[in-house]
Assembly symmetry: C3
Homo-oligomer: 385 residues x 3
């Protein structure tokens, strides 16, 4: 109980301090750096040329709202599958997304490029806990928590085409990205159902596969969605992505856990990792095949450096492979540092026996709390014994 | 148990084979027949006239996404009301919708017309099981499953105007369809609540009515939504639709089940059947009254053959009545053949005692599985006795 | 039991009569007053100037649908947090919204202004029940009901920018309103998490705060969202709104209940009341600072009377403060009269011991009903004793 209450004290101090500090920092930075642009400023609006309005991401309003729907609802509910972690899943995703919305305005100002999910996706895990088996009984789902998670999956599925097409140019590029993503998602859904039934005990479908691997088609065309991969190319890419993702959940994940001591509750490696790498390789391949003939005047939008003669298609492909390498390097470093930081004693992360448990961060309604208290008490007894 | 495991083996082989075969067939057909059109192809984009962009259904992007929201979320969650069939409801709707998305591209190419839900709607039931009373205890809802189903109902309600206006011409036709659908849905909701309270035991509202009959207003203006039915005409149509649908759930359904041996778990006949026929009759009536004076230049869009003088309004009405007759004929034939096919032994449909039960198709979380196993065991004992 | 059944009879008669009467009245009023406008009428469409299309609220179609998503899903699910009131929350919100949709068309015709939520928001509570402690055990949530409520919260959060920008002019005003609302919501979410952890027992987050106070940022810029409040001004306003709302739930609400006998189950005063008043004061302040220099030609859209020289900025501010006073007066009067009307015996409101209970209005699935019947029976025994 001592550990429990010291942990609570930690949250009481750290979360407010972090929120206050970050919000104050953002307000100060906003006051110096952020201004309404000519589309939004009342005084500038009527003097400006409106024709480039659609090129500004922040004012392609439906896409902006679509991406929020995907991130807040999609990711928020996807992780409610854990039977006693629904509050934390939705709540902390909510907090993080609200913060990212503000932060991304600043980052975007400097980088002039935006990809809604990146900030979010960079946050989780490279962490292992040696006594995690004590929380193992909570790493499962219950019937209704799986239905809540399907709210997340289906919103992600429907809005992934908007998400992939958000950073593209309007016009043909956006159409092509949306269509390729739809076809790829369609094919990954079919391959996921097929392999889930084929590989599971007694031919039964596994909700974890459906909730996750069916989305791999959206990930795999994340790089190449705007390129001329052809509709049947998108179907093949999606089918392969659904396949490797389902195989990952079935065969790779148990090995990662038992041999490499990697805890991957949401299967991020299976859904975002492997299909993402496959997508990057696909993107490099298709970039290497880009010609003026295939893209016409549109080459200027998709590959401006090739169109202007500063780069050959082959060197564009090499650059993209190098980009993949840099991404993997940064992800490993960032994940490693993040994992070490989370182990700092001052962050008072929960003890191994209380993982996946809302009750340490949230006021939980009584009937549930009772049940949990029972568990915790019996675990404490075990620990002392 | 023998029956159970042979059934599982069936799913293990058939579902993957079906998915693989269909996906391969679609990929091959796509590679031969499907190309980006001039709105989507990078090379063609800048040479084309953009002005007709909005007329292409696939690129009226918001509508396309709206229809997906309606089908994936609306229909997926609507059927979660069954207490132990939530996984199957959402999961199989998901699979079918993902397949339909691809298939419809092909069909559309040949037919040059598209109505998102048609493919989906053609799939279910004309089936009766003589020992279905053994699954009767699972044909009900539980408290939370009814709340999940309301997610479906409300998404269907909100997106039905988009759905009805998707195949119409842009401009006034689309506005009129959306508005008429909203008004009709509003009136059917009020009549559903009124009749549900009026007819139920002790004046209590019945969730089944609210979840379904409130949507009848969207069905009833499916044919006539684009026509000049006037706002108060839409209100009257919706009110009637909600009324006959609620009466259907209350009085017709028990008769269909006991006398005609028709099992209609979702009440498709009450929500889609009767209001659909009413809507077709309404459409024929309004078509018969169409004049140049009422429609102005817009007559060209709504009734091109009348506008061009190839058909009188009366003969248009007769054609539409004939269309209703053909639809009912095809539906009866299609449903009959579908029902016979589903009874083929090689399809290993579940035994009567295991209907409405996720556990025969899905890995179900433990606490629930235990409960179910108990039921199955006691049922097996009964069957043997 | 006598009371219970007389109450049921009340619903059986009153709800249908009310629905029939209101629907008939609306149909008659529609038949006299409502016509398709030139954007929707087939005969008028081709003769009209299309350029002002976007100024008509009913045909800014995405916004219209967004506002419905917010009201039907957002408010509908927000109130499912009550463990045994989910059917009533979603169902009655559904009925009321379907009615409002029709009613608002009429009201709008007279007032030429529309604000989607106003009608809805004017409906609830100023009511106290002296024996409400007998229903107290049902005023809590259960684990899954809190997750359902989060569906409501997150949809409200995502669609609030659409809601605030719905009545504004298109162009820069709409962009500015959406952006200001997003920033304000982002900041109120951070301050809500911060104060919830800071003030709660053991630093634990409280779901009631997250579900409600996080939305206060949307309320507080309801008046001033279109004005040039600057992005960091929006952040500060949102942060303050989240703070006073969370403090209201924590400290003010228990006082209101014990001292002033005000029952505010949803915390309307904390989410809509105080942040709304703060927002009105902020709006008056910013209006008083409006200059031609800051707004440019846009001043015509935001403050037409100032732009045309009929009013100074200071008198505009005074008018807005007077508007706040009138709103508070009408709200008090309307709430008081509403409260008195609801106490009329002929409306047969439920007895104090059966508040927050679906079972008196709805057919509730069996397993739940059993549980409730147990409660009711033991309560009846208590009451008799």
């Amino acid at each position: 109980m001592a550990r429990n209450s010291s942990h609570a004290t930690g949250l009481r101090v750290q979360l407010p301090v972090l929120c206050f500090f970050l919000q104050a920092a953002i307000i100060i930075l906003f006051s110096f750096f952020v201004r309404y642009n000519h589309e939004t400023d009342s005084a500038l609006w009527h003097q400006s040329n409106h024709s480039d309005m659609d090129n500004d991401f922040y004012f392609r309003y439906p896409s902006f709202q679509d991406v929020h729907t995907m991130i807040f609802i999609g990711f928020g509910f996807l992780m409610t599958f854990l039977q006693r972690y629904g509050f934390s899943s939705i709540g902390f995703n909510f907090l993080l997304s609200a913060f990212s919305l503000q932060w991304s305005t600043l980052v975007q100002g400097f980088l002039h490029s935006f990809h809604g999910g990146k900030i979010y996706i960079g946050v989780e895990r490279v962490l292992y806990r040696s006594h995690l088996d004590k929380s193992k009984h909570r790493e499962g789902s219950v019937y209704h928590s799986d239905l809540f998670a399907m709210i997340g999956t289906i919103f992600l599925w429907i809005f992934w085409p908007s998400f992939n097409s958000a950073p593209t140019n309007t016009g043909d590029g956006q159409h092509r990205t949306a269509l390729n993503t739809y076809y790829s998602l369609g094919a990954s859904t079919l391959s996921t159902f097929a392999f889930s039934a084929l590989l599971s005990r007694g031919g039964k479908l596994d909700m974890v596969h459906i909730q996750n691997a069916a989305l791999a088609g959206g990930v795999v065309v994340g790089t190449s969605g705007e390129m001329m991969i052809t509709p049947f190319g998108a179907l093949i890419a999606g089918f392969l992505a659904g396949t490797i993702s389902t195989l990952g959940y079935k065969f790779l994940m148990p090995i990662l856990e038992s041999k490499f001591k990697v805890q991957d509750t949401c299967g991020v490696h299976n859904l975002h990792g492997m299909p993402g790498v496959l997508g990057a390789l696909l993107g490099a391949l298709v970039a290497g095949l880009a010609t003026h003939q295939t893209y016409g005047d549109g080459l200027e939008n998709v590959f401006p450096l090739i169109a202007e003669g500063h780069r050959t298609a082959t060197s564009q492909a090499v650059y993209q492979l190098f980009g993949l390498f840099v991404t993997l390097l940064l992800a490993s470093l960032g994940g490693g540092v993040g994992g070490l930081l989370l182990r700092l004693p001052c962050l008072s992360s929960p003890p191994d026996s209380q993982c996946y448990e809302d009750q340490i961060y949230w006021e939980v309604p009584l009937e549930h709390e009772d049940e949990v208290q029972g568990h915790l008490r019996s675990e404490d007894t075990e620990t002392q014994a």
